[in-house]
């Protein structure tokens, strides 16, 4: 059993995480030491043992690098011990961010899939529009986020919608590109077979292209949902009054609340992981129903 653990993935991942945690604590001690010495001086404590110094670095209020323990404690406080409706709760902020992310992601992926279907079947659209979609992946579209938020605010469209719009167009491009690739993935032999059946374009799409595109679609949906989350967080940087992880990050950086920043970051990361995993679960369910190899 030990060999199978060694050969598998869980044990190595856990070991690497443990190594990272150890280095993290060492890093906290090293990076917080200067500030700790300063704190001791200000408190009039002239001499201190190394043990006291280390203990101090691991429990500062605004450390340069909080320890994993401090971050977990903050997460515990703001997630489990604060009411979800309070503005100090990460659950509240999380719900703000995730709702915009999901709405935007849904819209963006639907549009992306629709455009992909059109592009694959209409040659002029493929030749004229697709190069721009592909090129857009080299441009930092996220730089448009602040502008969209502010412009929509001019029209009194605030809160969820501007963030959802940004999340939508960030997920739109990878989904379109991935879906086009997937719709074009069938073997030429399989397409020829459809021609021998005199199948219409719609039949070929439904029976061949659509099923063949599923793996590509889910791969790009994972990229899309992660991109949506990043877009929402960046949009929240511009207008942080409505809350959300981005607002929390910004607030933390204004007031030097490093533990708050790290906690928000961990929470955002956890949400990203959950969202991507959910897409992965749907992926497995769908591909299994389609008869893929386990």
């Amino acid at each position: 059993m030990l060999t199978s653990l060694w050969q598998g993935k869980t044990l190595p991942v856990l070991v690497v995480c443990a190594i990272i945690a150890v280095f993290w604590y060492l890093g906290s001690i090293w990076l917080n030491a200067d500030m700790q010495r300063m704190l001791f001086e200000n408190n009039g404590q002239a001499s201190y043992t190394t043990a006291e110094l280390i203990e101090g670095t691991l429990s500062q209020e605004k450390p340069k690098l909080p320890t994993p323990g401090q971050i977990l404690a903050e997460l515990n406080k703001t997630v489990l011990e604060t009411a979800p409706t309070s503005k100090r709760s990460l659950v509240y902020h999380g719900s703000v961010t995730i709702s915009a992310t999901l709405l935007g992601f849904l819209i963006g992926s639907m549009l992306g899939m629709g455009l992909a279907v059109l592009v694959v079947h209409i040659k002029s659209l493929d030749r004229s529009l697709m190069p721009w979609v592909v090129a857009s992946q080299t441009i930092p579209i996220i730089a448009l986020a602040p502008m969209i938020v502010v412009i929509m605010n001019q029209f009194d469209v605030t809160g969820l919608i501007p963030k959802a719009v940004i999340a939508a167009y960030l997920s739109f491009f990878p989904v379109t590109v991935g879906m086009v690739k997937g719709l074009r993935s069938p073997d030429p032999l399989q397409l020829d077979l459809m021609r021998t059946y005199s199948a219409s374009q719609w039949q070929t799409f439904l029976k061949l292209r659509m099923p063949a595109s599923v793996p590509f679609l889910f791969a790009s949906l994972k990229v899309g949902v992660a991109a949506s989350l990043v877009g929402t967080v960046v949009a929240e940087l511009t207008k942080s009054e409505d809350g959300g992880f981005g607002a929390r990050l910004l607030g933390g950086s204004y007031y030097g609340q490093t533990i708050q920043i790290w906690a928000a970051l961990f929470a955002a990361a956890a949400c990203a992981w959950v969202l991507v995993s959910l897409v992965g679960v749907v992926d497995r369910v769908v591909t299994k129903a389609m008869g893929a190899r386990p």
Binding site: M147, V230, L250
Partner: protein
């Protein structure tokens, strides 16, 4: 497509109507005497489209009639949009006609593109260019003629003007941001490749790091920017740090995938030569990994740009592309924001094109270059 005929007929009708209608707002009745040249151009467009809509076969050169007339008409409507008071029905009919004819132009280009050759390459670039130009023309005419306020959506000409008059500022911004991008990109990608090679001999570490690497690639790492600013200060070093973190893991994941890309037969071949680990790495596995490494480099070029710009939202000395966007958005100078985005976009696509050219030279042998589209 089958419905092109009625649409082209519609375009022709619109153009003719524009030629004989009021182009100015508030003038009643037919006023054919003003804007004579524009009316001639619109009539030309109308005739060309009506001839195009006929099913009778036409000489190959006749295909250029519609695009040429569309080009002239597009110039006209932009010019008209720039003069005052042009919002009559005729004007909007002309805009509609130009839009439909531009689409028809793309159609004609695509239908006449051969599969191979220089002409094919030229026409393949022309189609998206026409599409983009149409978008710009429509943007320009509609924002100007509807009087869209500059703080909502400036016209492309206004953006261009701003760009040209702000070159010193934009250049300084560009240099500031690029410092962070360049340093972070080189360190991040370099470290990714090195670590991948280092853990190549330790499968245990590979199995542990790869899932983590895939996980981290999906996370909103830009959020680490405020922390980096706290550690490295406001200047470009903190942006470089953000870029390093954003580019490290995608590079690691791609390089590890590339190092396992060499085929079994090729690896056995090296064994039969009694080649050492170093020789196998140098002669086989690294060249075979190049397509994957370049894939990572291309992905990272966009990530680096995003990382540096967003990191600047969190704090920077009063220069930098992200700073410029943030501040000008606050001041409602939307044309300046667009100008900065144009610069960032150009920089991003140029660098990507450079990478693609380098990739072609280094991995010319890969199967993907020998496929027909």
């Amino acid at each position: 497509m089958k419905f092109h005929r009625p649409l082209v007929l519609l375009a022709g009708a619109l153009a003719i109507f524009a030629a004989v209608s009021p182009l100015d707002f508030g003038i009643d009745g037919l006023a054919i005497g003003d804007h004579l040249w524009s009316r001639m151009v619109f009539s030309l467009l109308g005739i060309a489209t009506l001839r195009d809509s006929q099913d009778t076969p036409q000489p190959a050169n006749a295909a250029w009639n519609v695009p040429f007339a569309t080009l002239l008409a597009a110039v006209e409507i932009v010019e008209l949009a720039h003069s005052d008071g042009l919002r009559g029905w005729g004007f909007f009919c002309a805009v509609g006609a130009v839009w439909l004819c531009a689409w028809r132009t793309v159609d004609l280009i695509v239908a006449r593109t051969p599969a191979l050759g220089h002409r094919a390459r030229f026409l393949r670039i022309l189609a998206p260019l026409v599409f983009g130009a149409t978008l710009l023309v429509l943007w320009e005419t509609l924002t100007l003629s509807f009087g869209v306020p500059k703080v909502i959506l400036p016209a492309p000409s206004a953006i261009l003007l701003r760009l040209v008059t702000s070159i010193p500022t934009l250049a300084a911004d560009f240099v500031q941001t690029v410092q962070g991008i360049a340093a972070g990109y080189v360190i991040g990608c370099g470290a990714g490749v090195l670590v991948a090679i280092l853990i190549d001999r330790v499968p245990f570490l590979q199995r542990g790091l790869l899932p983590l690497g895939n996980l981290v690639s999906a996370l909103p790492i830009v959020g680490i920017a405020p922390i980096m600013v706290m550690w490295f200060g406001f200047d470009w070093q903190s942006k470089a740090a953000v870029v390093v973190i954003m580019t490290f893991f995608p590079m690691l994941v791609n390089t590890v995938a590339g190092l396992s890309a060499a085929g079994h037969m090729e690896l056995d071949l090296m064994k039969t030569y009694g080649a050492s680990y170093r020789q196998t790495l140098l002669h086989l596995r690294l060249p075979a990994a190049l397509p994957f490494i370049f894939n990572g480099l291309k992905i990272n070029s966009t990530l680096a740009l995003i990382g540096a710009i967003v990191a600047e939202f969190f704090g920077t000395p009063i220069v930098g592309m992200g700073f410029r966007i943030n501040t000008e958005v606050g001041r409602m100078n939307i044309d300046m924001v667009w100008a900065t985005i144009v610069v960032a976009g150009l920089a991003g696509s140029l660098f990507y094109a450079l990478l693609a050219a380098m990739e072609k030279r280094a991995t010319f042998w890969h199967a993907s270059y020998r496929e027909r589209a």
